[in-house]
């Protein structure tokens, strides 16, 4: 399938009083049309910053240090604010924000906020046409059209999340970034939202970048999985492989740390220590200080992304022998 988005060696840093925070530190991936990429990582792993970078929306004092983001052959990192606004944001890439509760402006009705999107990006559309489309959108995410005339605070969490998804689909973008789309929702609602995303993805052939800390949610949707740790991607590959036969000790540990609903109740393992301070990252592998399998080398030299036989990428020295080549 056609390649939609290519990210090359993206580095997004924040200048803070304490030093430079390397929130995203050399991430590369491609996204094909209709592909769902799940990006998993714990708090502070840089996954949200990565999402903001894709829209050119890194909040100050953050900035894209280097790297390229190619969308349809255009490099987003080189675009002016006006170009981003007119060509990329929402037309090509839309986003479902973390905590949908706060992603809607509280003083406008839901419909008005969707209407505004059309006003800006499709000024030729008539008012009637726009509103028909709004109702259609709301109904497509399983909401009644009367929701359009309500204010965000009058809606439940699940309804707001649906509204935000409807809004993301308004201009039929190629890519939807979903940043923790179900966090803070109850499990039942979460399941409904995941179903909705699944359905929409299939119907419209959407490409989705799903960002979450919850591997369970990733498994529901993602075809390809990227595991991030301390601003680096540590493992990248098809979900089937990553979940069943992880090739990075971090991925493996994460999977073993999650209690399961079915099967035998194994003793959970945990990862000792805590993620590194991104202003003063350790030399070598960022995960080495917490890694049960760390070797001397791991503390000294940063592992490259090894490309494995099964097509996966993994940044761990243990994979050296299995690797086809050191990519990255």
């Amino acid at each position: 399938m056609a390649e939609l988005l290519r990210v090359e060696n993206l580095k997004t840093y924040y200048n803070t009083l304490r030093g430079i925070v390397r929130a995203v530190d050399g991430v590369s991936f491609t996204l094909r049309k209709g592909e769902v990429l799940g990006i998993a990582g714990e708090s502070g792993s840089g996954k949200s910053t990565l999402a903001w970078s894709l829209l050119g929306l890194v909040p100050p004092p953050g900035y894209v240090k280097e790297g390229h983001i190619y969308l349809d052959g255009m490099d987003i990192t080189r675009m002016s604010e006006a170009e981003l606004r007119k060509k990329v944001r929402w037309k090509k890439i839309s986003m479902v924000f973390q905590g949908a509760m706060n992603a809607l402006t509280p003083v406008y009705t839901v419909g008005r906020q969707i209407e505004e999107v059309f006003k800006i990006h499709a000024p030729h559309m008539g008012k009637q046409e726009v509103w028909n489309r709004i109702y259609e959108l709301l109904e497509s995410v399983g909401l009644h059209r009367s929701i359009a005339h309500r204010y965000p605070h009058e809606l439940s969490g699940g309804q707001k999340q649906r509204v935000v998804i409807a809004m993301a689909l308004a201009l039929e973008p190629d890519i939807v970034i979903a940043d923790e789309p179900t966090t803070a929702l109850d499990v039942v609602v979460q399941a409904q939202i995941l179903n909705l995303l699944k359905r929409l993805q299939r119907e419209k052939g959407l490409s989705i970048i799903l960002i979450t800390h919850d591997l369970g949610v990733i498994a529901e949707l993602a075809e390809t999985v990227m595991i991030m740790y301390a601003g680096k991607m540590v493992e990248y590959g098809p979900a089937d492989l990553v979940f069943t036969r992880p090739k990075h000790p971090y991925t493996e540990a994460l999977l073993k740390a999650i209690p399961r609903l079915r099967g035998p109740v194994d003793k959970l393992i945990y990862i000792p220590g805590q993620p590194p301070d991104l202003t003063r990252p350790p030399p070598g592998c960022k995960f080495a200080p917490r890694c049960p399998l760390a070797m001397d080398e791991c503390h000294e030299k940063e592992p490259p992304l090894f490309k494995l036989v099964d097509g996966r990428l993994s940044a761990c020295w243990l994979n050296r022998n299995e690797a086809l080549e050191a990519g990255g």
């Binding site: 609602v189 540990a253 999650i258 109740v265």
Partner: protein
């Protein structure tokens, strides 16, 4: 660890916590009765010594309020909370003029606020939010010392030793290093360990753990759970573990109670309830949980439930779950006289396997 051994520490009977709603002007004018948010609406369960008892349910189901009502951090509207304190605490209470109910139990609901203090040594809580549960202006030492000072335990030197010991027990070593730190200098996981240390430093008989891991990163959750189980084993403390995560519940709990809108709908052995749920709501909950299994991607997850949770201020009549219940819908003709009319009691399901101690509040499964 089932309750069969009869060593019941806590016996909650028909506990109710109702919060009065402010009446609108038209309601005052028309003299309508005051309405209540029935956060907890008749909850009954027992917790054995050394047991981990789980309360699960979605947000707003009353699980946290139940936990806090047991600790009298929220005042119950009705019901009984019979608690069996350690003998020395019981003696202290008797000295203060509180007569125990038979068998060395005290009804926590009826203990006057002014005489509750000795019981605080016995009942502790661990909160969800590791950032808000530690006083930002106290050092770790001061945080852990405060309960000891309040109860007049030990000399300063002894207290310091106790603090060092408990810090080591929660693996914050070297203890002396952590004592002088402030909460903001610790990571989330470390803070939660301090919170656990604070809960256990008084050696309580019962600890309520209110979603202690849900705000922590996945990689460190297991460690916190481990710690709680450790303490349980070491001191025989009973745990009421409140969570929305059935998978965590399955991992840590001996018994489990599933709550919906202020009531327990299903209660029983944790594994059994989760692996073979009976109540339609439990079934929906179990079905809704995503697991890191890549096969899930290929199917639309069927969650057998309709609509959204109603407002706790307007609880549906009869079985409070029936408007969302798929099974009621399927078997409407038979159940129409029951579900929308009469509240189902917690009872043994008709087809319960032998040895299954579970109770269910659903007409479909208890009606003979």
């Amino acid at each position: 660890m089932a309750q069969a051994n009869g060593d019941i520490v806590l016996d909650v009977r028909d506990l109710k916590v109702w919060f009065p709603l402010r009446r609108s002007i038209s309601e005052i004018v028309t003299m309508k009765p005051r309405r209540y948010v029935k956060a907890v609406d008749g909850v009954t369960f027992k917790v054995a010594k050394g047991e981990v008892f789980c309360l699960v349910g979605e947000s707003g189901c009353g699980k946290t309020t139940t936990g806090k009502a047991i600790l009298r951090l929220v005042d119950p509207t009705g019901g009984q909370v019979l608690f069996k304190p350690k003998p020395e605490i019981l003696k202290e209470l008797e000295r203060r003029g509180i007569k125990p109910v038979d068998g060395g139990y005290v009804d926590l609901v009826r203990v006057p606020k002014g005489k509750f203090k000795p019981l605080r040594r016995e009942l502790q809580i661990v909160y969800q939010d590791p950032y808000g549960s530690l006083n930002p202006r106290f050092t770790i030492k001061r945080i852990l010392e405060d309960p000891l000072i309040i109860h007049g335990i030990g000399s300063p030197k002894e207290r310091e030793e106790m603090i060092a010991r408990i810090l080591e027990a929660v693996k914050l070593t070297p203890a002396s290093d952590f004592m002088t730190r402030y909460p903001h200098q610790l990571s989330g996981g470390q803070r939660q360990r301090v919170a656990i240390a604070r809960a256990f430093i008084l050696n309580p008989s019962l600890v309520v753990a209110d979603e202690p891991v849900s705000m922590l990163d996945v990689s460190i959750r297991a460690e916190i759970l481990e710690l709680l189980l450790d303490f349980r084993k070491k001191y025989g403390t009973s745990l009421i573990f409140i969570t929305h995560d059935l998978a965590v519940a399955r991992y840590i709990c001996d018994r489990i109670a599933v709550m919906y809108l202020g009531k327990i709908v299903e209660i029983g052995d944790a594994r059994r309830v989760i692996e073979e749920p009976v109540h339609p709501y439990t079934k929906a909950l179990v079905a809704a949980i995503p697991e890191p299994d890549p096969d899930n991607r290929l199917r639309i997850r069927e969650v057998p439930i309709k609509g959204e949770v109603p407002n706790a201020a307007s609880i549906p009549p009869g079985c409070r779950f029936h408007p969302r219940c798929v099974e009621y819908e399927q078997d409407k003709e038979r159940l129409d006289a029951l579900c929308p009319v009469k509240e189902p009691p917690l009872d043994r399901p008709i087809n319960a396997a032998p040895g299954d101690e579970r109770l269910v509040a659903c007409w479909r499964y208890i009606e003979k």
